[in-house]
Subunit: 401 residues, 2 copies
């Protein structure tokens, strides 16, 4: 029997407890011994829970319990999660978390403590919810140089964009609907401003390239400025607009990492990932493109990924999984101004004016004095400079996906 | 240093040697020690190889070499691969294979030997080439009851069908092109008759449900009878035709497993998997649908999956990975006649005659005395019985995918 504790009994935490209880026999078969929930930490009361007697409001009861070998952190946020996780690892307990904010902010430090203490710090659920991505990527990484990782990493924004694309719904209406359906928080800033996707691409980039990339180093744009006109003309150009988190390794070993809305060509495997689904593409030098698709959030998908990690920890109580990256200083990340792509532009100008600014352009449409066009590839800094010559209504990167 | 041997220096085998040599430093970082190719078994001569001195034609040199701890089998076919692999495992060497025929025919026996000898028998590359699927599925399995696994498992047939769908190419022409491009063997029977896909769905079913399902127990249809008319009317019905390998767990715990061309609705994630690509959908009770996509074959994709397994074996020389299923007697598989689906039918009949035979139908088209329609759900045995009343030109299952 392995005793575990769960810190947090919200959506994911209650799902973890539920799966550990309902899939008990299956887990026993897989592991060869029972996983016993000894404590659940939450400040609220859950008198109707079948294991109501195991709830505690006191973290000290968990940290001081030597029988508890694995701790699940599903509280979210940095405080007190960071402090609690650090103390658990330092005390020689393995930790499983779904908390992308924590991993993106402190992953390198926590992995280093786990390594030193010879315990595991696993976070499969922090990216892509129920989609296996951290383990498969580790696998791809072994025999591949990963050239690029790109994904639709946030279900809320993807739901909103899909509603705009499929039903011509306005951004605000689609956001409201997402909130009503429970896909978006009451305060949706972390989603729609791209911060959630940013944390996830930081985790994937750190894993892929072995050094921590902190969110502060990543240029991040949300989807709040995307209009139905953008959606319509993107379609005329054979593309859909998706919020993409992407990291590319350049020839000089620098990373080009960004979170931004991008035009994704219809033929891309990422173009058909709709509504609340996530999709992650890993480009390896040997495998070529490999894509992982599924529900990127939600109680049971996320909880099932947490439980798989818990089982892995229980199997490897005395051996570390090979999941590690070193700390990073951001010096391996290029400025977003140096990132190169084609741009999709709507501007109140003529073709001649657009050509005057950008040289060769591909005209997409012209209506009521507004020209819609695509530029050739150029540095974003160069684009911004040249765009000053025109009255630009919107400018979106065209993804090479 | 871990010494390995590679049996077979064909497409995949030479790729494995290439990756082990070119990604040497990366593999060393991951494993913490060197992987040394001590022997390569092949009856041919490779005087230009940088490691030409390590080739042998004699299996006994490998089996008797106590330093060789991991053996890669990439010869293909059952003979002598089965005998060689069995002897390697019995001798306490871990084995990695990409040989789906071998795993589908003898997986349970070889896994049992591996278990007894406390070594690993890994075969990530046997399904989906470079797509990580065996490991992620094991992961999904831990905390999920898998209700269904369905996939496009054969790149050759998918290439042919895509050419028929996208370019209106005839089956024979598309096959010839696939052969010219190296996607199809000179003797393409194993691909186009569905046997290759059958082996792969057998492996996935065995893994998902814990008991070996042998290819003989699986009703298998190829794509040789698919016509451009089928393709055209499928499109009119909002579907594409794909060769699908599928296993479903029924409520009575019996398996409904089949390989057959199916109509896949355009909105399905499997509909957009084109050309030589593979895609595999795993339906878990907690995760929902998870889809894995990538190149299902080819030298480097397949070899990179083999190398990932080799590294895993080297890491776990003294500990088994939890990959296992018991033998099976086929009694948990229902007859294909009892499998239920909607059917897409082209028949030389009137609507009234079709309704007379099948009751409620959905009419898709009617042209020159030929009616194209979809039935409601029914047992395949029932369909065959009722279809006798009509002059049926073609009948294809409609996938619930």
């Amino acid at each position: 029997m392995v005793s575990v504790a769960i810190m947090g009994h919200g959506v994911v935490g209650s799902g973890v407890a539920e799966i550990l209880l309902t899939h008990k026999q299956k887990l026993f078969s897989s592991l060869g011994e029972e996983i016993y929930i000894k404590k659940i930490l939450d400040l609220r009361e859950f008198p109707d829970s079948p294991i109501a007697d195991r709830f505690t409001k006191d973290f000290e009861e968990i940290i001081s319990d030597l029988e508890i070998r694995v701790v699940v952190e599903v509280m979210g946020g940095l405080n007190p999660a960071y402090d609690f996780v650090k103390r658990c690892l330092t005390a020689g307990k393995s930790v499983v978390t779904s908390n992308k904010e924590l991993v993106a902010a402190h992953g390198a430090e926590l992995l280093a403590i786990a390594k030193e203490k010879n315990v595991n710090f696993l976070f499969e659920a922090s990216v892509g919810g129920g989609i296996p991505i951290i383990r498969p990527m580790s696998q791809c990484l072994v025999a591949n140089n990963v050239n690029e990782v790109a994904g639709i990493l946030n279900g809320t924004t993807n739901f909103i964009l899909t509603k705009m694309i499929e039903e011509g719904m306005q951004f605000e209406d689609a956001l409201k609907l997402a909130q009503e359906l429970g896909f978006a928080e009451r305060n949706p800033a972390a989603d729609i401003e791209g911060h959630d996707a940013c944390r996830k691409i930081c985790i994937l980039a750190s894993l892929a390239y072995g050094r921590h990339v902190y969110p502060e180093a990543v240029h991040t744009e949300g989807i709040t400025k995307i209009t139905l006109d953008d959606v319509k003309y993107a379609e005329a150009f054979g593309c859909v607009i998706k919020l993409i988190g992407r990291v590319k390794k350049l020839e000089n070993d620098m990373l080009d990492i960004i979170v931004a809305p991008m035009l994704v060509p219809n033929k891309s495997q990422l173009a058909n990932i709709d509504y609340e689904f996530n999709g992650i593409m890993v480009r390896g030098d040997c495998t070529g493109d490999v894509v992982f698709y599924g529900k990127g959030a939600g109680k049971l998908p996320t909880a099932s990924a947490v439980v798989a990690d818990v089982v892995d920890c229980c199997k490897h109580l005395k051996a570390r999984k090979y999941l590690y990256w070193a700390d990073g200083d951001g010096k391996n990340v290029i400025s977003y101004a140096d990132s190169v792509s084609k741009m999709f532009v709507r501007a109140a100008c003529t073709s001649e004016e657009a050509q005057g600014a950008f040289g060769k352009i591909t005209k997409i449409a012209e209506n009521d004095g507004v020209l819609v066009f695509a530029t050739e590839e150029l540095r974003f800094g160069e684009f911004e400079e040249k765009a000053k010559q025109l009255e630009v209504l919107s400018a979106i990167r065209i993804g090479d996906l």
